[in-house]
Amino acid sequence: MQDTLPRRALPVRAGGPLPILAILGVLLVLVAIRQPDFLAPASLMSFLGRSAPIILLAAGQYFVIVSGEFDLSVGSLVTAEVVIAARLIDGDPDRTWPVMALVLVSAAFVGLVNGLITSWLRVPSFITTLGMLLILVGAVYLWSDGSPKGELSEQFRRFGRRAVEDVPVLGRVPYALLIVLLLAVLATVLMRSDFGRILVAVGDNPRAAELSGVRVGRTRTIAFVLSGCAAGVAAILLGGYSGVSFQAGSGLEFSAITAVVLGGVALGGGRGSVAGAMLGALTLELLFALMNFFGVSGTVRPAVQGAIILLAVAVSAARSPSR
């Protein structure tokens, strides 16, 4: 009941990045206590670089979630793209650029298909992208006979693995970090643009948006394409970081959705910032690193992760006045 809302002015704008900044701050303090040298430029840079893929996936997932949908296919899309890239490049440096272009285009195409099925066939995106997940995994296994073939070239891997050396103060700055910073700026600008505002409005109230002339289906489809593109870039970085394997993207869709929700973005759409989503991903990565530093046993880690997610989301749900 909208009319019964309390009138008090909210101290923090709901969906803003402040809560996630607070959590991130606490984790940083814990890191500073436990592992002070982690905050030295060199290791911080490498941490940020290796976190780039999940940050990108969170940003991509943000576009979809804020418009009121889900994208469960990104993890398998990353896997598929890495495997495809490896097989097509097959260690030949000359093929690097065309294959990278192909990776981006095909990832965008998968996003487009997700968007079209969701918008025009009216299939709930949870189902569309769940089906797409199965199709992608099945197809890529089928195509590669169940075992990735070929090899990524060093040129391809450089983006996820190498760094700009000898930067004053910072030391080495990973290419992945530069790419993620650039894309973060672009994403922020995009969300401040007309399209970004329309995207959030679609997630908030698609009916109202449609009656204001918004092409809801098209807008959401673009969100899926953006998510696909993000997955494509993430595949390039992740493939670069760790090489080809079928595990490259497994489970990343849930990590990305978790990160987005941690970042204060409402499932169902209409609220939250892309900065919050990306910070959510960074927080999640920092949590994993922290667990490494604290030597949390590998087997209880999921429990710690689950508890923290539930607590963080429960607290923000309790703070949010809308029911």
């Binding site: 197809a139 999921p302 689950g306």
Partner: protein, 324 residues
């Protein structure tokens, strides 16, 4: 207005059964043409066994989805339940009943936790059950490094392997649970309220339905079904298996079976009859692919297409109906 003719609400057989028959018919034809047989007793028994495990989980999943919720923790509940049952029984027939009851009680407790998180703290069901699933995963990973306990031999015999003709006891159990769920939805207050909560929570509230309680109860039932699936798997496998739920991908597969069966993901519409059809369809695909010895990966692709296609067909129907 008077010219308006009323379509009596015949709850027609869900379209999934048509798809099932078609799949089996085409599958049969292809298998026979390639020189095999599809409907041998052994194959049918296998098909029904596979359907029983997934079916039990999916029936529970149907209930929460009808209520507008979702349960992603079922896979871990299944695993946990096998372990609780098998460890409590520890190979003894005397501990059969306590073992089963304990497994079900633990499962119900998890369902209660899910339900309370969703209904009381207002966490989105997706995140709540994902989080609870992670908690369970942590417990399973740190507590077990492989199969543990031993299911009571009587239960293994009765539920794991006994069959009447080509129909295993486990499938009869599924049939009974599905019938129970069907009756619950159609003939109990709780069922009517659940459909209302999923259809329109505000209307339900204004009509005096206690939405929170209904939702919590649905989650408890869902976890109970998963727990029962665990008991069946413990009987089938002879011991508790900490990874059996995740290996079977029971979380996503159960959701897939539910939506293939025509239940709306948004809640308020659908039923268990369709879900059982969905489960049989998935198991039937398994059987056909097995007989043709086709790659499991190709089957994965087919499943993806079937899921999207089925829901697209249902969506089209709803739109068509809305326009008429």
């Amino acid at each position: 207005m008077s010219a308006l003719s009323f379509r009596a609400a015949r709850r027609t057989v869900p379209g999934v059964y048509l798809a099932l028959v078609l799949t089996l018919a085409i599958g049969w034809l292809v298998v026979v043409l390639s020189g095999g047989t599809l409907f041998t007793q052994a194959t049918v028994v296998s098909l029904l066994h596979v359907a029983a495990g997934l079916g039990l989980v999916a029936v529970g999943q149907t209930l929460v989805i009808i209520g507008g919720s979702l349960d992603l923790s079922v896979a871990y509940v299944v695993s946990l339940s096998t372990l609780v049952a098998a460890e409590a029984m520890n190979g003894s027939d005397t501990a059969l009943l306590p073992g089963v009851l304990l497994a079900l009680a633990v499962s119900a407790g998890i369902g209660l936790l899910n339900g309370l998180l969703i209904a009381r703290t207002r966490i989105d069901a997706f995140i709540a059950t994902l989080g609870v699933g992670l908690l369970l995963k942590g417990y399973l990973d740190s507590g077990y490094d492989g199969p543990a306990g031993a299911t009571s031999p009587a239960l293994v015999q009765a539920l794991g392997y006994q069959r009447i003709g080509p129909v295993p006891m486990s499938f009869l159990l599924l049939a009974a649970v599905a019938a129970g769920a069907w009756l619950t939805l159609r003939r109990t207050r709780f069922g009517h309220h659940l459909l209302a909560v999923g259809g329109d929570p505000e209307v339900a509230r204004l009509s005096g339905v206690r939405n929170d309680r209904v939702l919590v109860a649905a989650h408890v039932l869902c976890s109970l079904c998963a727990g029962l699936a665990g008991v069946y798997l413990a009987a089938r496998l002879g011991s508790g298996a900490p990874r059996v739920g995740t290996e079977g991908i029971y979380d996503l597969e159960s959701i897939a079976a539910v939506v293939i069966g025509g239940t709306a993901l948004a809640g308020g519409r659908g039923g268990v009859a369709g879900t059982v059809g969905g489960v049989l369809l998935l198991a039937g695909l398994d059987a056909v692919f097995n007989q043709l010895q086709l790659d499991a990966f190709a089957k994965q692709v087919v499943r993806g297409v079937v899921i999207i296609g089925a829901v697209a067909v249902y969506a089209r129907r709803v739109i068509g109906k809305g326009r008429s």
